[in-house]
């Protein structure tokens, strides 16, 4: 748009402009073309996909990691508490060895808290990126280009998409039922 206006001005006024003014208007025209190209590139990025699909997908996956590790950690702790109790029924070196091993498991289980906090930070960062992308789109007023690919991001050839989120996943009994349905 800017480039077109400048070109029109240059065409009608070329005889009345100094060399400096012509150069300046040429620079403005080039700037206009750069902005137009940037808008096209942003549209090609499919920013609505980033906001509507990619970032929510990533945050859901991270939430699922926290949930799975929490469940696993509680199972480990439960077994550990049983060992702790069993350690009180023996004496001597065995008791000390058991106690030491149990203590080390308790200590190691604190990983769940640390990883949970780190993942929360990553989720916060992703949400900040989402907000910035949204701001850029609003500022440029870029319409999205037509979608060319399927909605789901394809997995690399030969690979599965990894574990599903619990809300989308089938458990073993669902799988067994499905297999049984084939007769």
């Amino acid at each position: 748009m800017v480039a077109e206006v400048v070109t029109a001005v240059l065409t009608t006024m070329s005889g009345d402009l100094s060399a400096t003014e012509t150069t300046l208007l040429g620079e403005v025209a080039a700037l206009g073309r750069t902005i137009a190209a940037a808008k096209q590139e942003i549209a090609a990025l499919r920013v609505d996909d980033i906001m509507d699909r990619d970032i929510p997908f990533a945050t859901d996956e991270l939430d699922a990691i926290v949930q799975h590790t929490a469940v696993a950690t509680h199972a480990i702790l439960e077994s550990c508490e049983m060992l702790d109790q069993a350690a009180t029924t023996v004496t001597g070196d065995l008791a000390a060895t058991l106690q030491d091993a149990v203590t080390k498991i308790y200590e190691a289980c604190s990983f769940q808290d640390i990883t949970g906090q780190r993942i929360t930070k990553v989720v916060t960062t992703l949400k900040a990126i989402e907000a910035k992308v949204s701001q850029i789109v609003t500022t440029f007023g870029v319409p999205a280009e037509p979608r060319e690919t399927s909605a789901a991001a394809p997995a690399p050839e030969g690979l599965l998409n990894g574990p599903q989120l619990p809300s989308n996943a089938m458990d073993q009994s669902d799988i067994d039922k499905l297999l049984a349905s084939f007769g």
């Binding site: 929490a70 950690t73 509680h74 702790l77 550990c80 508490e81 702790d84 106690q99 149990v102 203590t103 308790y106 200590e107 289980c109 604190s110 990983f111 769940q112 808290d113 640390i114 949970g116 906090q117």
Partner: protein
């Protein structure tokens, strides 16, 4: 000075896993009267109605953080002398300084081991 291990200890953390780990570690060093709170507000309520000889609190909690809990404890005439150990993943200098200025008795950085917990408790209760 011998430490009275029958005292009531309040542990505060919004992660159930950490509460469970700390409780078990305390049990191993023979502290058996351990109560739990999942945030600062619940902890303050328990502290005001109970009789605790030690508080071990996480920092990152909502709506009341461990630092705010510490400030409330130190501003309370009945609680101001209760030993208070902060356990947190935040090991930045400014965090440690803020906790010290608020009157923390000692500070443990996650991840920690049983030996560190035991050592800090002995240090804090030895000076109480």
């Amino acid at each position: 000075m011998a430490i009275d291990k029958s005292m009531n200890v309040l542990i505060v953390d919004d992660y159930k896993t950490m509460l469970r780990i700390i409780r078990n570690l305390l049990k191993q060093i023979e502290f058996s009267n351990v109560e739990e709170a999942s945030d600062g507000a619940e902890a303050l309520s328990k502290l005001r109605t109970g009789n605790f000889g030690l508080v071990i609190s996480d920092w990152n909690m909502a709506p009341m953080t461990g630092l705010q809990l510490l400030q409330e404890v130190r501003a309370d005439a009945k609680l101001k002398n209760v030993p208070f150990i902060m356990i947190t993943a935040e090991s930045k200098t400014e965090n440690v300084v803020a906790a010290k200025q608020a009157g923390v008795s000692n500070y443990i950085v996650k991840p920690f081991n049983a030996e560190t917990l035991k050592g800090k408790i002995e240090m804090v209760l030895g000076h109480a």
